[in-house]
């Protein structure tokens, strides 16, 4: 008798627990379909069907002209500077969203012996191309890298597992991995800027076309600081600045033959 009562209590307890859990699950499903979390848009937000960039390289004369834009970008995005590590380690662990390359490195497949001297020594600004067919998005095993509806290839730093498959997949070397704690370098110089999160070690990062600025109605920082040398707009809008520039100038893109369809164009 005692034994069967104990058994009953056990079964009753387990069922109650089970029902409780089922109830929670039902509530979770119900709330999931009923009131999905909504993304609120700022009324001033800049929007586009396909954000694109046109860089007029004729307007960049020297290293100083491009470095100014790189500094602005890296400053507002809390990109660490590992200069204190010495040249070798700095180069190995470097984080860069936007940087300067020579023509032969930026356009590996368009280089030749008798290329125009001006172009050969021009400082080219390179960054993530926000490809229409981004190989990094395909490679990512967790969807930490994804393409937004407006064409921006974005990243969730909190989901990234740091497998670096995206770095192997990117044909433009546009991605950096945090081989060490980036906050250590930022704290060292006490230069952390609020408005964009710092990252932790072990995740990949790259240019995000200043999605956080577009969201509050501002153009990307490099565009703003470029005095008109960089145009930014909707590639699908025939009336946009970028489309007008593409109409009136011959432009090139990096590694055209890869089928990635970059959204960054260069006037040379």
């Amino acid at each position: 008798m005692e034994n069967s009562r104990r058994k009953f209590l056990k079964v009753a307890g387990a069922s109650a627990l089970g029902m409780g859990m089922a109830g929670t699950a039902v509530r979770a499903i119900a709330s999931g379909s009923g009131n999905k979390p909504k993304t609120m848009k700022n009324d001033n937000a800049l929007t586009a069907k396909h954000w694109g960039m046109v860089i007029d390289t004729r307007k960049f004369k020297s290293h100083k002209d491009v470095q100014k834009l790189i500094d602005v970008c890296h400053k507002i995005h809390n990109v660490p500077d590992f200069e204190y590590l010495g040249e070798h380690k700095q180069q190995m662990h470097e984080i860069k969203w936007m940087w300067e390359e020579e023509y032969k490195h930026a356009f590996t497949d368009l280089n030749y012996k008798y290329v125009n001297k001006r172009v050969e020594h021009l400082p080219f600004l390179v960054l993530c191309n926000h490809c229409e067919n981004p190989p990094c998005v395909k490679a990512c095993p967790t969807k930490a890298t994804f393409k937004r509806d407006d064409g921006i290839v974005s990243m969730d730093f909190h989901r990234c597992i740091g497998c670096r498959f995206c770095m192997a997949a990117c044909p433009y070397g546009s991605r950096s991995f945090n081989f060490r704690d980036p906050r250590a370098a930022l704290n060292l110089k006490e230069e952390t800027v609020s408005g964009f999160p710092t990252r932790m070690k072990g995740v990949v990062e790259k240019c995000n076309f200043c999605a956080e600025r577009l969201a509050i109605g501002k153009k990307p920082a490099c565009v703003e600081a470029s005095n008109g040398a960089i145009a930014f707009g909707d590639l699908e809008d025939p009336e946009s600045d970028v489309r007008k520039l593409l109409e009136s100038n011959y432009t090139i893109r990096r590694k055209q033959g890869m089928g990635t369809e970059p959204s960054v164009y260069y006037i040379v």
Binding site: M92, K104, H105, D109, T142, C160, I161, A168, P171, G259
Partner: protein, 385 residues
């Protein structure tokens, strides 16, 4: 059956202790890496995969190589492999354990590893690699366990295990094919972008895996009462012969296509590996050592007189294993990253900590392998007694 692994000679425990010590050192290094980040390795922005992923790639091959005893026995009824199929399966298990460890220690944020299954991305080859690797591990554990247990009880293996055995065959090919697809589908990485990358991986796998198994057979024969059999070893050595020839043939095909077409982006990586590029050539002596080892092995293996001589065969197997290890565990990954897609030449040299941590993963694999082989051999001794 696990109890057979709990009683053994002093030599057995000594061996396990030695591996455990190396594993312990590796664990301490891993704590350091966990705390500091992957910056303790020699990897860099340009060479973002290094020694860990290279070991992983090589060991997937060793694991897949186990199928070279499974196919003849189960599909062609080659009875002489009956005694050693379990050794092949257990070698595969140990190799997969190492593969999984190498993947985990290569992650920047290992605590988030389950994101791969929480947010499944069928477009990513890495997602599929986790599926086939874990599937192959499960199949080998199941098949190995059931078949060994039946052998111990002197009954034929249950019928229901057959489908799992047959399934393990495509999985073996699958793990190395999918691993090759990790690399060969990436635009801008011309060294890997070749349709024969998966076949080449399989050829080197079917050379490295069985050659290692032959060496293990020699060790088992010397130190235990279980004899895998001369014929089985000779049959395995023929498999190694075909596979290593295929591997070298594929390498020749790669070099021909790149060099004869003269396309710089394809030639540059091969130049970097075999003659050096813009004054950088850390891997050149290694790559030539690999070529020489593989060619020497072919000479020794093709000739029946030398192949049948067991001491020569042993040397040939060491050459095959070392040669394919350099080819894949050293050259294959950094060779694909140098030069970078922007044609910068930044070389990769693994750090000391990175190499020792890798060694400790190998030690962990050998730890598992020793226990598994101890079980298999004890049961074989028990049955034969």
């Amino acid at each position: 059956m696990l109890e057979t692994a709990l009683k053994g000679t002093k030599r057995y425990w000594g061996l396990l202790a030695a591996f455990a010590v190396v594993m312990g050192i590796g664990f301490l290094i891993y704590l350091k890496q966990f705390d500091f980040g992957l910056g303790i390795t020699g990897m860099s922005r340009d060479v973002s995969w290094g020694f860990y992923i290279a070991q992983f790639t090589f060991l997937v091959g060793v694991a897949a190589g186990g199928v070279m005893v499974v196919i003849p026995y189960y599909l062609h009824d080659y009875k002489k492999f009956g005694k050693i199929t379990i050794l092949g399966e257990f070698l595969a298990i140990a190799a997969i354990v190492m593969c999984l460890l190498f993947i985990v220690i290569d992650l920047g944020q290992p605590m988030r590893i389950l994101n791969v299954w929480l947010h499944p991305s069928p477009g990513s080859v890495l997602f599929w690699d986790t599926i086939v690797l874990n599937g192959y591990l499960f199949l080998n554990l199941l098949v190995g366990w059931i078949v060994l247990q039946s052998e111990r009880n002197a009954v034929p293996p249950p019928k229901w295990i057959k489908p799992f055995i047959y399934l393990s065959i495509p999985f073996a090919f699958g793990i190395h094919t999918v691993t090759a697809y990790l690399y060969c589908g990436l635009p801008g990485r011309h060294f890997w972008m070749t349709a024969i990358l998966a076949p080449r991986f399989l050829a080197s796998a079917f050379a490295a895996g069985p050659s290692f198994l032959i060496l293990l057979c020699f060790i088992v024969r010397k130190y235990t009462k279980f004899d895998p059999g001369k014929d089985a070893i000779q049959a395995l050595s023929k498999i190694v012969t075909y596979a290593i020839i295929a591997n070298v043939f594929f390498l020749v095909c790669e070099v021909f296509v790149a060099m004869y077409s003269g396309i710089p982006s394809h030639m540059d990586h091969i130049k970097y590996l075999y003659v050096g590029l813009h004054g950088h050539g850390a891997l050149v002596p290694w790559m030539w050592a690999s070529v020489i080892l593989m060619l020497l092995a072919i000479i020794l293996l093709v000739n029946p007189v030398t192949r049948r001589n067991e001491s020569v065969l042993m040397a040939a197997c060491i050459f095959v294993f070392a040669g394919t290890w350099i080819d894949k565990g050293l050259g294959m990954i950094s060779g694909g990253f140098v030069p970078s897609p922007l044609h910068h030449v930044n070389e990769y040299i693994p750090s000391v900590l990175e190499v020792v941590l890798s060694l400790s993963v190998w030690a962990a694999g050998f730890f598992v392998l020793t226990i598994l082989f101890k079980m298999a051999v004890s049961i074989k001794e028990e049955v034969n007694a």
